[in-house]
Amino acid sequence: MLKKIRISIAVLFFTFITVYFLDFADLMPEQMNFLTRIQFVPAILSLSVIWIISLVVLALFFGRVYCSVICPMGIYQDLVGRIARLFRKKKKRFRYRKAKTILRWSIVAVVVVTFFIGFPLVLGLLDPYSAFGRMVVSVFSPVYILGNNLLEFIFTSFDNYTFYRADASIYSAFTFIIGLVTLLVIGYLAWKHGRTYCNTICPVGTVLGFLSKYSLLKVRLDHGKCNSCSLCELNCKAFCINSKEQEIDHSRCVTCFNCIESCNRNAISYSFAFGKSKNKEVKPDVVDEGKRKFLSTALLSTIAIPATVAGKVTGVEAANKLTPLTPPGSKGIKHLKDYCTSCHLCVSKCPSNILEPAFTEYGLSGIMMPTMRFQHGFCNYDCTICSEVCPNGAIQPLTVEEKHITQVGKVIFKKESCIVYTDETNCGACAEHCPTQAVTMVPYKGALTIPVTDQSICIGCGGCEYICPETGKAIFIEGNVEHEEAEMFEEAEKKEFDFGGFGF
């Protein structure tokens, strides 16, 4: 029964969050974004006190239900495990494994330390929610869009325009590979080794595992009933039941309840602890020099490697000709890099398709984080979608009015490349696209007009850069390292029509 409830809720959560990530047409209601906000790392980064408390209380009450019901990566692994069972001739047999406590906490330490010294890439790579997001956006999304386009083709040939074609191309080979590697590596682990990722690598799993040791409700063995038959152990995908010793390592139990279903003697229950737990904690009784060395080396390298890398990176950044553009609401490169874990939800949701995972524009530490590129479009003047969906607060919510004066970059005009100058023909495409008229056309030669720019009212939307017919772009946006407030443009003189005549 418990297992059935677990599976039903997990399927619901998983389906909705996956579809929410894939939903490029914005068909799902805005409220669905709570699915991303209740994820552990986003809740902490956005300092959502309510969600943090809820998740901690949840863990202290029910154990690691987060890992089997809320975390999409956890459910993905269960899904792979299920498929694996169909392909395996013999029924899956798991065996108890010792906890890799030192490795687990070393990873947490690395994640925390690198995060605080300004190298959040490790957190971004290991956070199960963000890794799942990248997987969906990079690998599943093109497939989903191709499916949509196939439906569109069929429907449109019957003159039904319910569907519309979307761009199914992959954003960047680099993030596609990262997404695919995530999919395959975690998929492989889940296929062969159950919840190994959650119980050795995942920093969220380690933290929640720690809390779960003290949770009120736990999966418990009744030592009176148990005959150490090991059926439960064989079914434990977390490898945390030692049937011989009749012990359960609660820091690794993801409360899947598979053991309860498997037990023939009703010796396992999910129940309250009265008094101290009877389960013995596995403790290393001898000081292991090797492990100590490993831990200290890990910690040292944690600080040393990213520090040197970061040092190099700043050098590269300064040398770059263009400052990359950060999405409006992200305040600038520093804020974005402090809070973004590259889940790519904004990349998937951007209706203009201009948010793309960065390669090295932000330096090594900002790899995969969203940046604005204007090859396929420009930032819609009234659109605030990326700032609304970001669960981390890396892109802070903006009202339309705030967006109108948020300057993410400034316009730069190279007259000698402009076709009005080189070919002496009228164009004006840049001014045409400029929402604030930071680019306007002024008389040049004869009937020709040429652009002039006013950086103070430019918001850096990229309309001019996108539409500029010159292949080398005679007009483009140079990013602001930190976003600035653009001045409000002057309004035109109001006029009333006298309804006198037609004028001809």
Partner: protein, 311 residues
Amino acid sequence: MDRRKFLSAIAVAGFGATITARGAVHVLSQNLGSQNGNPVDLVAVMGGNADEMFRRAITEMGGMDNFVKPGYKVCIKPNIGWDKIPELAGNTNPDLIGEIVKQCFDAGANEVVVFDNTCDDWVKCYKNSGIENAAKDAGAKIVPANQESYFRTVSIPRGKILKEAKIHEAILDSDIWINVPVLKHHGGARLSISMKNHMGIVWDRRFFHSNDLQQCIADICTLDKKPVLNVVDAYRTLKTNGPRGKSESDVVLTKSLFMSQDIVAVDTAAAKFFNQIESMPLDQVEHLANGQKLNIGTMNLESLNVKRIKI
């Protein structure tokens, strides 16, 4: 085949249909009879709501039956270029589009489709312009134009610079199409009216901008498949900072509408009308003269039978 069908349909249509050459230019326009039997080339209406003015104008042109025959697939091409609400006059008035769709169906159209290759994100443009709702409510289909695969290459033999273009299939596959621009100031082309509205049926607009915009606008209007009717929405006019406008101060409530089969004539009329609000000498709107040179219409309004109506 399409063109033949279209031409024969037009030839049969309207009891007073004649093909005349007024002046040296005006070869292709078909002058249809009005209710009192006199051929009307251009109708200008002022003082009503957009839909009301359209009803008056189309009656002067002999009614929608003159253009739409039972069973036709009609394509309506408004300007939906920007993610703007109707009050900001960046796009064609939605009430006008709704009324035209309705009249097409009343005249027996089998299907009416509406589209534009927008500048802003098309989903937002279609929605916030109010055109998607107005067109759908009247029974039309909204067709996307966001991917190149919706467009087919067509040769433009009479174009001076533009020799071929990718045209939206909704135009190519229709029996007739109706051009419904909004009158706007335009930084590059000076004015955006019926001729400029052709840029929304084309995929690659950058070619226009990099190869003499004013000539390319005239060139695309020599396309074999011409609109049977140009309806210029001037219910609100974007007088400054066009074609997208910055704020409501750029907009003037002008409550007018112009209609003609002669695309150069209707744009000339609208340009002269615009000149009353903001100075706009005709020679600056170069695509008008370029169009006249390509024999797609006349700038000489004196040579036409113009009907002026105030409501």
